[in-house]
């Protein structure tokens, strides 16, 4: 019978030398002189990816420094928990939509507290914000039976004037010896805007300092996205993916800080304005932009990844069309070139082109009635953009990975002749071209 109190005495005198004695004895038994030390590690429970990003636009425009982290916890039965955190610190200025002019222009700030003047000939920028944005996401992946899986996620982000809440779901199923995967996803977002000074009523004038009579309360924007996708392994070296996406936005889709210049039909110069007596205000007539309250987008996306004896070519194409009459094409190519066992070089090329929205106007003719919708936001204009980048990555002995990338983004717009008004606009920079640097440093490790 077991005597529950009986203690088996431990050989304290030689417990530490057991391993050494055992090693000697084993070498004698196996007839070896030495062996490579064992290398065994527990599989990490968490995989963490971190990145530090620096984004800077030429001409004192937007600058962003951000830190992002993605954490994945893998469970033995293929369940995965993903958590991400991002913190962005934005500073700088962005074009407000007014056209440049031979003379100075004065604008009321978004808060309505003060005015700012743009020197002659320069593209008017709003040098307002110092903004910090925090974004969080959580995602759960759950296998359903052997061939299917289910994803559910939540997202939230907060800035001083914008709050986002979202949920997403995805269902996937494998077919054909798992060579084919079909998936369907759904995402919902409920965003709330609380612009500085209050959202302006669309198409109303930019008013004098402290005049917030055309401002409204909080605004809402709802977005629904549907993605249908299929991925297919073509052969041992080639995999492809095709997606169709549908997106529907509803609510306040305007940029509350953007305006359109009212110009003289003959000269094309901004129409001057005199502020109320004793008060500062805009020097010319500007109207707050107005976009439709709905937007429907369709996208087709195709991607191929091809393995060529160690090198990987990743090429994708996306076509987007929407009911604002914007059509875009995106071509994205990456080529990963391994260097030795542990590092790689990856050049990157991206080409993007879009047509302008049907309500895109660089300026408005003051002699005509205002259209229902008008926006001079350069992001709704017609432009081509090219990204050229290079990334270098290397893996440490313990399997952690570092990478650094440097990219240059350059967007070059064009304004169709029929959008120009009057005689003076031809010589001006009506579209604010963009040149930006993207620098990122990443570190991935297990924990």
């Amino acid at each position: 019978m077991y005597e529950t109190d009986k203690e088996i005495p431990m050989s304290r005198k030689n417990s530490k030398s057991v391993a050494a004695t055992l090693t000697t004895a084993t070498c004698a038994l196996l007839g070896t002189t030495s062996t490579t030390p064992v290398n065994a590690q527990e599989e990490d429970e968490w995989e963490l990816d971190t990145a530090l990003l620096y984004y800077n636009e030429d001409g004192n425009r937007v600058q962003d420094i951000s830190f992002k982290m993605l954490a994945n916890r893998n469970f033995v039965d293929d369940r995965v928990l993903s958590l991400s955190l991002g913190v962005d610190s934005l500073t700088g200025a962005t074009p407000i939509g007014a056209i440049p002019f031979a003379g100075p222009q004065t604008f009321t700030s978004p808060s309505g507290n003060q005015v700012r003047t743009t020197p002659p000939g320069e593209i008017p920028l709003d040098p307002s914000f110092l903004d910090t944005r925090v974004a969080l996401t959580a995602n759960w992946q759950q296998p359903l039976g052997r061939l299917s899986s289910f994803n559910a996620g939540l997202s939230a982000s907060s800035e001083y004037d914008y709050l986002h809440l979202g949920a997403n779901f995805k269902l996937s199923r494998d077919f054909n010896k798992r060579n084919t995967t079909v998936s369907m996803g759904l995402a919902f977002a409920a965003d709330e805007l609380d612009p500085v000074g209050g959202a302006p009523m669309p198409l109303t004038p930019m008013l004098d300092v402290d005049d917030l009579s055309n401002r409204m309360g909080n605004q809402n924007k709802d977005v629904m996205d549907v993605v249908l996708g299929v991925s297919q392994i073509i052969n041992q070296n080639l995999i492809m993916q095709f997606n169709y996406s549908f997106s529907s936005s509803d609510g306040y889709l305007n940029d509350p800080y953007k305006i359109v210049s009212l110009v003289d039909p003959v000269t094309g110069d901004p129409v001057p304005r005199i502020p109320s007596p004793g008060v500062d205000g805009p020097s010319h007539e500007y109207r707050f932009e107005s976009r439709p309250g709905e937007r429907t987008k369709h996208s087709l996306f195709g991607q191929a990844k091809y393995y060529m004896n160690g090198k990987v070519l990743d090429a994708s194409y996306r076509y987007m069309t929407d009911d604002w009459d914007i059509d875009s094409h995106t071509v994205d190519v990456r080529f990963r070139w391994p260097i030795g066992d542990r590092s790689y070089l990856e050049p990157h090329f991206r080409y993007y082109t879009q047509t302008h929205a049907n309500f895109y106007r660089t300026s408005l003719d003051s002699s005509l009635p205002l259209p229902s919708y008008a926006s001079a936001d350069y992001r709704l204009g017609e432009f081509d953009a090219i990204t050229l980048g290079l990334k270098y990555g290397w893996k440490t002995e313990s399997g952690n990975e570092w990478s650094a990338r440097l990219e240059a983004y350059s967007a070059d717009g064009s304004v169709p002749a029929n959008l120009l008004i009057g005689s003076n606009q031809g010589g001006l920079e009506m579209y604010p071209d963009l040149d930006a640097i993207i620098a990122q440093f990443s570190y991935s490790f297990g924990w």
């Binding site: 084993t26 038994l29 196996l30 490579t36 064992v38």
Partner: protein, 277 residues
Amino acid sequence: MGSPCEVLLETDSESSAAAVAGSVSTEAWRIEDKFSRYLPDNIVHRINNSGGAPVEVDDETANLIDFAATLYEMSDGRFDITSGVLREAWNFDGSDNVPADSEVDRILERVGWSRVKWNRPELILAAGMQIDLGGIAKEYAVDKAASEAAAETDDACLVNFGGDLVATKAPTRSKGWQVGIDALDQAQGLPQKLIRLQNGGLATSGDARRFLLKDGIRYGHILDPTTGWPVQNAPRSITVAADTCTQAGMLATLAMLEGKGAETFLADQDCKYWCYR
């Protein structure tokens, strides 16, 4: 070996795979045939039926016996290759058939390495006593088979005999050999833990399948030869990583024999281990 045996080889060459599989299985069968206590005409059979007469053994057998003797010293008598006869009293079939004290004591008369006269190469085993190399031979076979494989090829190779394994080299095309430690709850079918092995040995000692259960007390199958009873408070499962499979296996067994002190023992040895209670 009493368990499924496999060799994993990272190669594109079918002929290389056949050659390695051939040399590994040949070595495995050779060791099994030579040291199995179930076969009627090998060295172990001759020793166990010598009736007290001296038996002269070959070098390989002598090496194993020397090794067993060292382990006997290291464990203060708890690792004992003459303890096999206790299986006459203990049959770990999951039932509640726990033997009586008197039965165990009777068999203990025939247990004890100190009763054996070992003067290499001559072994004298008293009548009624038996040696069983089962506690060493499997891990030994893994290491020997792996060295046969390493002689045959430069490619990364892993030899696995029923969960006792050794990897000669890290695979080049993946991040290491992925080894799962069986969960204590077999129903799930999923491993308890995943280990990435680059090179070296892994061995597991445990009672997952062989045990007795009576009056709510679980009796694991590792017997303490000094008492004739299963080790008290032994962990349910111990997996150890060491330079060779033999070392890993012996460390796991020695740790089991420490019962309550298994984790402390393993921590003192400065090796990687996974211990479940």
